[in-house]
Symmetry: none
Subunit: 211 residues, 2 copies
DNA sequence: CAAAAAATACCTGAATGGAGGTAATAGAGA
DNA sequence: TCTCTATTACCTCCATTCAGGTATTTTTTG
């Protein structure tokens, strides 16, 4: 009998998940919490073996809560739950101590399997989460393929912008007029289709244009 | 009968794994490759359902090979194998299209389970790999201790700066005076010891302060 | 060689950023 | 209760950025 706490602010979801688990016969839901504060309290009091944690909570987000739980409890397995399937969230959830990740449109079998998996010490990511990670991988490939061709000088300017130099500082370093530097910056922004230096750096990093 | 290709330069390991799989009865090893070139060739020719991929190969490393395979084959499930258990390798292996990760000192049951898991569409990480990720999490916590503590509002401002919004845009979004936003920005720059927004973003990324 | 691409330089005006402050209010914790 | 921190807000001055241009000189390439 594995003891489980569910953390979700929607009663419907909490009850639904709880019913799924109970019907399996050999797991027991010991509490359903509606927010982070309540969850921390119940977890400390009941010390469950597994926590099913909604990522979108009213007070704190689930990733933060996961990190908070890990500060006082390293043994309990934490499985994230969301309706939307965001690749960025999945990885940061795992980085903050999560053991598994499920979408709310899961089947009962998948939920039970995920619980068994994390209890055995492995990490479980749902099929859909897996799919998302592959999509992310593909979009990286596409981005590399579609990336703009920068001239030598543009790469140089971009590099120094990345290093945090201002236009005039770069001009001085490269023995150019600051007007020239601004022209290159302007062209860079046009090529990467952004309208500020911040976004330019971000895009450049995303598209791996820096060296 | 699931078709499997093993890629490993050590005959002993290749044969050992192969025996483990065959003994399960319902999986079939269709090829054992000793290097990346051979592997690519065999995968294209035999189109296996699962690839067991040694991360330490003589010619290319397994992560690179995984990425190469994904360029022409998105369906085949790829499970990484290593003797050493490096957290950084695990995450970059997954980011490059891997579906699972095992240590070579695994039990036969775990190998079979991992194959079943990835075939069903999930990602499987071994207990030890999981353990490693938790360790990495702990070291992140330690790093958190050493790096500056940002308030909730500061994190929020930092996030939108990272997204490329200007001071006034953030002010509008958060229903604040632009003066307030600039104050937070100023405090952030002081905490991270920099003197421009560019450098602020860089430092924040380096120190993993962005969520 | 001729055309295209890259690099250079210049200008203006409006918006934004950065350094230097000051200060009131709300909330948490000792 | 009192102190400390977080959050909010305000101000000035000057530097920098960004969006519009235009235009000349090199370099590359078909």
């Amino acid at each position: 009998m594995i003891s489980i706490i569910i953390v979700d602010d929607h009663p419907l979801v909490g009850e639904g998940v709880s019913t799924m688990i109970r019907s399996s016969g050999y797991h027991s839901v010991v509490a359903i919490c509606k927010n982070a504060a309540e969850a921390v309290e119940q977890i400390k009091a009941l010390n469950p073996e597994v926590i099913l944690l909604d990522i979108n909570l009213p007070d704190t987000d689930g990733i933060e809560l996961c990190s908070i739980i890990r500060k006082f409890n390293k043994a309990t397995k934490i499985i994230g739950l969301t309706s939307t399937n965001e690749a960025g969230i999945i990885s940061s959830f795992l980085a903050n101590g999560g053991n598994g990740y499920l979408l709310k449109n899961m089947e009962r079998e998948e939920l039970i399997k995920a619980i068994d998996e994390v209890m055995s010490g492995a990490i479980y990511l749902s099929k859909a989460a897996n799919q998302k990670i592959l999509e992310q991988f593909n979009s990286v490939l596409d981005a590399v393929h579609a990336r703009p061709v920068l001239t030598r000088r543009e790469k140089e300017i971009l590099h120094w912008l990345y290093e945090g130099l201002t236009g005039p500082q770069i001009a001085e370093k490269l023995f150019l007029s600051h007007y020239t530097v601004e022209t290159h910056r302007k062209n860079l922004m046009q090529k990467l289709n952004v309208n500020s230096t911040q976004q330019l750096i971000r895009q450049a990093l995303d598209q791996k244009l820096l060296n």
